[in-house]
């Protein structure tokens, strides 16, 4: 079984559109994982049925025992997030503002504040329209993505792939280079980089490449919307060449990307010149994994 992680560094390069297209091309040979949980949107394109829901707990929340609280207000002073307020003659924790740092617990002299695990969202296991299983998540208001959540989503996907004897796990990674991205790379066999010919596209591509090198994972790059800035595209190609990263394909800017998205479809499901390119990319990735 092979784990393929799609990453971009920069947001808005077309990463999710391309991941969803690969997911449709892979059909039931793959399990899909959406690890871009801060902006989870692959479900819009793959039409999952939310068959199973699992509650997800991450981080902590301060809880005050109101019966024993002396209203000394030390916690209110200590909290740098202003998450504890005196309201209705009670010290109250504002869950959205509480970062779970535990400082209030430390300063509370009657010792009536405890830090409790907080529910931060749900993990779902779904069946997609492509015939595959998909693991995805939805965060509660104010909750953030974390390495822990990504590890959870990936581990669920891995168990499903092992149980169903699948060939691939296709993972939509988070943007940036932070904790969730590091977590999505653990155990990966191949990274598909999606970039665009802009200054920030190249800058963030460089950062993500430094990270991938650290994990010694084989990578290939797609330059999306390549014809919008041919000069930058040339620069990116040079960079890929210097870094010995496979240049998978150039995808021209095409309005069909947007059109497909507004219809809730992937590019490979509509009439588009890009369909053929994505077909070729998927075959290319598969043959690289066999080598």
């Amino acid at each position: 079984m092979n784990e393929i992680v799609v990453l971009s560094g920069k947001g808005g390069t077309g990463k999710t559109s391309i991941t969803a297209s690969l997911a449709v091309l892979a059909g039931n040979e793959a399990v899909i994982a959406d690890c871009d949980v801060d902006a989870a949107n692959m479900h819009l394109l793959l039409n999952p049925d939310f068959a199973t829901t699992i509650e997800f707990y991450s981080g902590e929340l301060a809880v005050i025992n109101q019966e024993q609280c002396t209203r000394c207000r030390k916690c209110e002073d200590a909290c740098r997030f202003n998450a504890i307020v005196y309201l209705n003659k009670k010290m109250q924790v504002m869950p959205i503002d509480c970062e779970g740092c535990g400082y209030c617990e430390k300063v509370c002299s009657p010792r009536v504040i405890t830090m409790q695990e907080r529910k931060s969202g749900n993990v779902f296991i779904s069946n997609t329209k492509a015939g595959s299983k998909m693991v995805h998540a939805r965060l509660d208001i104010g909750a953030e993505n974390s390495g822990k959540l990504v590890a959870r989503v990936k581990n669920e996907a891995k168990s499903l792939a092992v149980a169903g004897n699948k060939l691939f796990i296709i993972i939509d990674g988070a943007p940036g280079i932070g904790c969730p991205v590091v977590s999505s790379l653990a155990g990966a066999n191949y990274v598909v980089l999606v970039t665009e010919p802009t200054m920030s596209g190249l800058h963030d591509l460089k950062r993500i490449c430094t990270m991938i090198r650290k994990f010694r994972i084989k990578a290939g790059c797609i330059i999306n919307k390549w014809d919008l800035n041919e000069e930058k595209t040339t620069e990116i190609k040079q960079f890929l060449h210097d870094q010995q990263i496979e240049h998978l394909a150039d995808i021209p800017y095409d309005i069909s990307f947007t059109k497909a998205m507004t219809e809730g479809k992937t590019i490979v499901e509509i009439q588009s010149p890009n369909r053929e390119i994505l077909d070729r990319i998927w075959n290319d990735i598969k043959s690289q994994l066999q080598n």
């Binding site: 991450s58 390495g147 590890a151 904790c179 653990a186 155990g187 650290k214 010694r216 994972i217």
Partner: protein, 112 residues
């Protein structure tokens, strides 16, 4: 010498955990005493952030001569581990601990 593994289980037949920070267990094999012991890493596994450095701390305390893991550790944990004299061998994922240990003994694992 003590050899530490990131592991999905507690025995020789367990698979190597590809993750460093959020590994399920750290298994230590003491070559002199010929004993294997496992440390449950679930506390670190469940922190939202900073798992890499927390596991690095744990490894420091165990003080092994060799660490065998998957495709981690990441940037922060690597920088921390550099300050320890242990040797780090990687890319042992998809192997059982036994296989990984034999690969290491035969010089077939990659050192970083």
């Amino acid at each position: 010498m003590k050899i530490a593994f990131t592991s999905t289980g507690t025995s020789w037949t367990s698979l190597i955990d590809p993750r460093f920070g959020r590994t399920e267990f750290i298994v230590v094999y003491d070559e002199e005493k010929k004993v294997i012991s496992a440390i449950d890493n679930s506390k670190v596994k469940n922190v939202a952030h900073g798992a890499g450095s927390a596991t690095a701390q744990m490894v420091f305390e165990l003080n092994p001569g060799v660490l065998i893991t998957g495709n981690g550790p990441g940037e922060t944990a690597s920088n921390a581990l550099k300050h320890h004299h242990m040797k780090i061998f990687v890319d042992a994922h998809d192997m059982t601990l036994k296989e990984a240990y034999e690969h290491y003994k035969n010089g077939k694992l990659k050192e970083v």
